[in-house]
Assembly symmetry: C2
Homo-oligomer: 457 residues x 2
């Protein structure tokens, strides 16, 4: 009874500001590159983004201020689940027989079940403040769509989600969750947009893709005055909002009397949970001489940061989104159908990419059988069932813990348990039945898509 | 930022003992009746129960001690999610436009998603301590089966769950959850027991029932030396273990600076979440002159406490379980297939029954469209998606809040949000599509089954 299992903070201990890493990058020698217009290839300004995003978010996207105050009305919604708990994984440490001390931050306690509402809530809030009454977005497996549906409901905004048709048909639970929060969910491609109709004319049975769904959501926002668009990862303001995670972790480790982390591990798809978890600590490395190692884990099937190039590329398949400098596999790269749907993206957050390029973070990749081995091992020790995306972080932490067992070192390892797997049980079923397929590094497919990068910058 | 949304406690604030209401019932004039042997009709002793339960639990079942210490190893597992948060439902109060102050305890934060692990963990622990290496149980929709699978995994005990076949086929997610925690899950009726084989011989396509699944689980435990049985509700020791809920609520209301509750609301099937939530407060009514009103809400389709009789009856359809004095609809009553599968039981906890008979608690019933109306109303205000069972408690709290709106009273209403609905989204889908069927009070069916009560006591 003397040793704690988890550290909870009260609402009084919540971070009051988001941390904007852009304020610290120049002094650390980390270069950021301006986004370019997808049509002209020229740097874009606020006016170019205004049809899609409210001005407050556009301002945050380019802000150089180090700390941006979290509005009271956002805090009120955050308090429905924040601060989230930080656990010491004592039972897992014992199961792994490691001298390492393992901690994990649990973001699955949010109503939508992941870290995604950390940005969905402020995005819905700023839209509401500027008089926007409708939001559109796209979703694959449904994590982001459900987070935005929840957030829009909290501020009385209508929400329309274009959901990739194959997921809409095969994964009804997240669709129903979105509808229960009042959203309307449309299988994409649909006949409600030009983008959708064009696809359906070519292939009436199209099962859709995230690229097509983005095009539909963006088109609807761009063509209706009352409607704007919301994106769940990649952009600077999304990374910004997620920094409540890392700030809480820092306070919780202090309350726990823990050592400063030797290594912090997160999974990356677009980069937002990793960014939110690590950026406050990366600042300590950059500014205060700390020496934490940061490990980003991505799937072998979508290895943008480990096998892609650092180059200007379109954010979407349809070339409607801005061109940004990032690690990319090429905008027409389509990842294999791994269960970690949230990590199936061809690019990476420009901020995370710049940090990787500067050598401030490490990236590794692995296959889905390996990450389910790690995830089930964790679940049987700690009880919590993680999302397949999160299992990448667990795999990464497990490698570090097993290395400590080998070396005898008692490192402090902290990872981000970004979401629960309650809506992903079909993937666990496949794993337990031995039916899970591994997808290795798709070298030739990547070489082909990288041949189509835009000739800019 | 000045008003709190939820009260979290640290692990140092966890209750150290369970509260045993049997210690206070005699002085309050509440009579309890001894359980009888299903074969002889005579009072049963510990030896009769020994094939099914470890001695520590049998001792708790009949204990007159007021406070029973929670073992350290149980506390260590409780700490994976306890203390659970208490919320002030400010957003729902505003949506209902009520002067009432509404609080809710959220038990959905456990790994299995409900209050059930509060008893599954000590049950697995005491079995482990007495050298039991295997546990059997039955499950309908899977809440209890998943709780026991989780708990057994935590103590390295094998777990075998007989799952009603129709649920096994139609609701694979909870089956997969149990398997991920290492349990083996068998569709019932099975060919692994005499009870199952008898049913299959009569009807090879039987879709099963909770009564049959209980018989299979009990038979296997009774006939194997290494195996015992675990039950998730009804029994005294189950009510006992759940009292961590109410004890935490009492501390949290104090931290919140809240008034003493005017009314507390919970749903009832076998009675355990209601018991755990209210018993520590019922003691304050019985012993310290408090005047809280306690409201138990049950489905119209299984209205044991509102429409049944207070009589001796079998705990199961197969007449293998002890005969207990309780509110019952008759042991061969089969409730309509409502979505709140956890409330489809013909009887009620003897302790809860005795309190109802003594006038210390109230009971009401309602239909499933009404409880989903209330549940969706709540979800759209507070974000959390409740289980269908829990929606009964929400409906009850809503009636109290609307009565306050009518009267202008600012009562303090507290309800137990006993579990999340992440595995129940099909029922929300039916509700949103207007396809939910209401089942009214089945008067004639109850009259018929009540004609078969045992002639004892």
């Amino acid at each position: 009874m003397t040793e704690f299992t988890k550290i909870v903070l009260t609402e009084r201990d919540m971070p009051t500001h988001w941390y904007n890493i852009n304020a610290d990058l120049p002094a650390a020698g980390v270069e950021m590159f301006p986004p370019l217009h997808p049509g002209t290839g020229e740097p874009i300004g606020p006016a170019d983004l205004a049809p899609l995003f409210p001005m407050a978010l556009i301002a945050q996207e380019v802000s150089a201020e180090r700390y941006i105050e979290i509005p009271d009305q956002v805090q009120e919604i955050y308090k429905l689940w924040r601060p989230s708990p930080l656990y010491r994984a004592r039972r897992w440490e014992a199961a792994l027989d490691t001298p390492a001390k393992i901690y994990y931050k649990y973001e699955g306690v949010s109503p939508a079940g992941s870290h995604k509402p950390n940005t969905a809530v402020p995005q819905a809030y700023y839209n509401m403040k500027e008089g926007v009454t409708r939001l559109t977005t796209e979703t694959g497996a449904g994590q982001w769509g459900s987070a935005l549906s929840f957030a829009a409901q909290m501020f009385g905004i209508e929400c329309k989600v274009y959901m990739v048709k194959v997921s809409y048909d095969l994964k009804p639970y997240r669709r129903i969750l979105m509808e229960t929060w009042g959203a309307s969910v449309i299988p994409s491609p649909s006949n409600q947009t030009n983008s959708g109709r064009t696809i359906l004319a070519q292939d009436p049975d199209s099962s859709g893709s995230l690229g097509i769904a983005i095009s539909e959501a963006v088109e609807e926002a761009a063509t209706r005055d009352d409607t704007k668009y919301a994106l769940g990862s990649v952009l600077n303001h999304v990374m910004l909002h997620q920094t409540v995670i890392g700030q809480e972790v820092m306070k919780q480790l202090e309350v726990a009397g823990a050592d400063w982390p030797d290594v912090m591990v997160g999974c990356i798809g677009g980069g937002s949970n990793f960014a939110g978890f690590t950026f406050p600590f990366i600042r300590e490395n950059m500014v205060n001489g700390k020496q934490t190692r940061f490990v980003a884990v991505e799937p072998s099937a979508a290895p943008s940061t480990t096998k892609g190039v650092y180059a200007y590329d379109y954010g979407d398949t349809g070339k409607m989104a801005p061109i940004v400098k990032m690690y990319t596999l090429g905008h027409d790269f389509v990842p294999a159908p791994i269960h970690a749907g949230g990590l199936r993206y061809h690019g990476m957050s420009p901020q995370v990419s710049a940090l990787k390029e500067a050598g401030l973070i490490d990236a590794v990749s692995t296959t889905q059988r390996a990450i389910f081995d790690a995830g089930v091992n964790f679940t049987q020790a700690e009880g919590i069932l993680p999302a397949p995306e999160t299992n990448h972080a667990i795999w990464g932490a497990m490698q570090e813990a097993l290395a400590c067992k080998e070396s005898g070192e008692s490192k402090t390892i902290v990872f981000n348990l970004s979401g629960h797997g309650h809506f992903d049980l079909a993937s666990y079923d496949a794993y337990l039945k031995g039916e899970l397929v591994d997808y290795e590094y798709p070298k030739e497919q990547i070489e082909e898509s990288l041949a189509h990068l835009p000739q800019v910058g």
